[in-house]
Assembly symmetry: none
Homo-oligomer: 217 residues x 4
DNA sequence: GATGAATGAGTATTCATTCAT
DNA sequence: AATGAATGAATACTCATTCAT
């Protein structure tokens, strides 16, 4: 500006990426130290801008968190719809695929980070939990239940309660990740997500009890 | 009392129950507003004592939280041991009893409150998560796995992975509570914990798939 | 009390020594941590009594400090008077004796402790400095000046200004101790108080300059 | 100013002199009430800024004190070196000049204030005494000793112990100031620093005793 | 006399947010 | 658009002192 023919600008269009850079910085810091122990100044510094600049893009610190959640959430809703369409093929294979996808996706700390933050802040900022719920669960849960409901209707699986069965399907994965990510509890030899999925599928398919007993329960 | 026209004694001496009263106050506030948004002054006020008095019993705010965890945790470890002793009787009945116990216990907001707080603070105060893990999970998880291992050895259930199967058993309950307590997601008609337990047991017993398919998986 | 014939009491007259025990405890702590960083509770604990008991003997924390000063100060005034009486004998020997006495007395940390504390607190509690001044300096300085004045009158020393000469006599010792006690500056090989005294006396007696010059100044 | 009818700008930007203004305010308050009885809020208020602004320039209250010491100390080290260079000329005149400089410099309450504060805080914050020692004494004392040593070597003064003689030279001035500044003890008719210097020089030059005796000591 | 539980005023430090430049 | 100096409210913790027992 002061020097019109200076070769400096390189690419000055950076500005449009600012919000994303800020969200990246914020995510890293929130994961490391938690939302309330991360200062706005730190976020700005890590993103390489001034504190004031952050307020150009986000009206408040909480808005940054909301932006983070929003960004993480949008792809999920889309995939949920896709899943529903594929599910008709081989159910058992689909199930394995689904659990594996969920498990590996959430197993990636980058991905699990946002729900973890949401859980943390839910008490204090219910509107964030609310937003997450609307964006994620209100899409994913009915979609999942619908898949199950259809499978029941087609006689592919026994007549179970779709909503509750969804919890039976996914709950173990969630618990596994909670134990690992929050309490640092891992089976010997690492996260072992595949071991969990295989064992869980085995139970889902064959039940817990020996064959002779499985019909008179 | 001794002096009927004295204006409320300034010092209500040696309450003996002070620590517990303080923990009660703290629990209520932590649940409502979260740990870091609750001030020491508020805790003291709610417990009806001065700020200074709180520091007579707890050396720091974090120590209050630790006290809370400790208090909530001790009964759990005890029950876990009891469970292991009963488990030999009718496994299927035991299973239903167990899940119901877990579900109703954790379904009580007073009880679920502490783990919820722990999850919130885990990122920032790992020593709290650590304490909880040692006091709860290090007892409960091996105990549960042991029960399953024994049942397998006795041929009462199919040869499954004990550690992972534990997650398959309990995970759905945990997920159900997470959805309900943190995201406010409940099936129509309330928490429906029994519906969850029944459906889950049905799947565990009979598997997910129709009888004809359940043997050739 | 509960057991009237218990042989416990040993000697219950301790009570009369309480104030002194408290002062001992306070002195040790004030020296170690300074007046304002020492809590009343610590003093009481170190003296083996309760906080309340301390307030039975001293109306406030500052009163403890005052008591300390008072106790340290009383012997000084007495000795000052004694010194004046001896001084007539051999002046030069007296001088050496005096400096040595002052130096070794103040060189004892236990003794220097009180003036050190007084210096520390003088700004904040001028009444303590005032007390010290009245009790110590208002006795010692005139006494010292009087000795010098008499010596001048008797022609034993040159006609010097008595008040100022007193500073020339004692100042080096004070400075030596300040450097050592407060800034930790000591000549190689320890405090070397005798080296200081000898050198100082040499200068006082022979002047600083070579003999040939010492008369035409 | 630029906008005459605007109601005092909320932010008086970039004072550039802020640190110095804060140090001035702090010095005044520390002198008046002592370090630990001065609150950060008071310093800020006196300097005309907010509490937060102070923390923009100093990371802690103690850092303010350190800044104060540092600021007071830098000129001293410089002068000490200058003195050494002049000292070769007329020793006796130099001595008078030196003592007068020291005396009048330290006689200015603004200058003596910092060492006084340092002495006060030395017990509690040894790192401050340490800093002062390194910045002042480690320069000044060796420099002074060197001057004396050289004078001895050149036969200009009698063979005295340089380190100790330094205390004999400066100690009386220090003691004089201590008595005056801390205990409020002044000779009739004011501080009388010149009287002290003259009398002290007289003793240094001619010794304390009459001429006839001064050679057979 | 003696105790120690209780009080509550006092204070350093942090940090989201504003706004003159 | 961008800066960063300035604000000031908020908060954990300390400790001299009191007083019911």
């Amino acid at each position: 500006m002061a020097d019109p023919d200076s070769p400096e600008p390189k690419f000055r269009r950076r500005a449009e990426h600012r919000p994303d850079e800020l969200l990246d910085a914020a995510l890293a810091l929130f994961v490391e130290k938690g939302y309330s122990h991360t200062s706005v100044a730190e976020i700005a510094r890590k993103a390489g801008v001034s504190k004031g600049a952050l307020y150009l893009y986000f009206p408040s610190k909480q808005a940054v968190l909301e932006g983070l959640v929003r960004r993480a959430v949008s792809p999920i809703a889309i995939r949920a719809q896709e899943a529903i369409d594929i599910a008709d093929a081989d159910l058992r294979a689909t199930l394995r695929a689904l659990l594996t996808v969920i498990a590996t996706a959430l197993g990636d700390p980058k991905v699990f980070a946002v729900p973890k933050i949401v859980i943390r802040e839910a008490v204090v900022a219910p509107e964030i939990a609310e937003m997450y719920r609307r964006a994620v669960f209100d899409n994913v849960l009915p979609a999942g239940a619908a898949i199950i409901r259809r499978a029941v209707a087609q006689g592919k699986i026994r007549p179970v309660d779709p909503e509750m069965t969804l919890r039976s399907l996914v709950g173990p994965v969630i618990m596994h990740l909670l134990l690992s990510e929050i309490f640092g509890i891992e089976p010997e030899g690492g996260l072992a997500l595949d071991r969990l999925v295989e064992n869980h599928l085995d139970i889902l398919v064959n039940g817990l009890f020996p064959a002779t007993e499985s019909h008179d329960a």
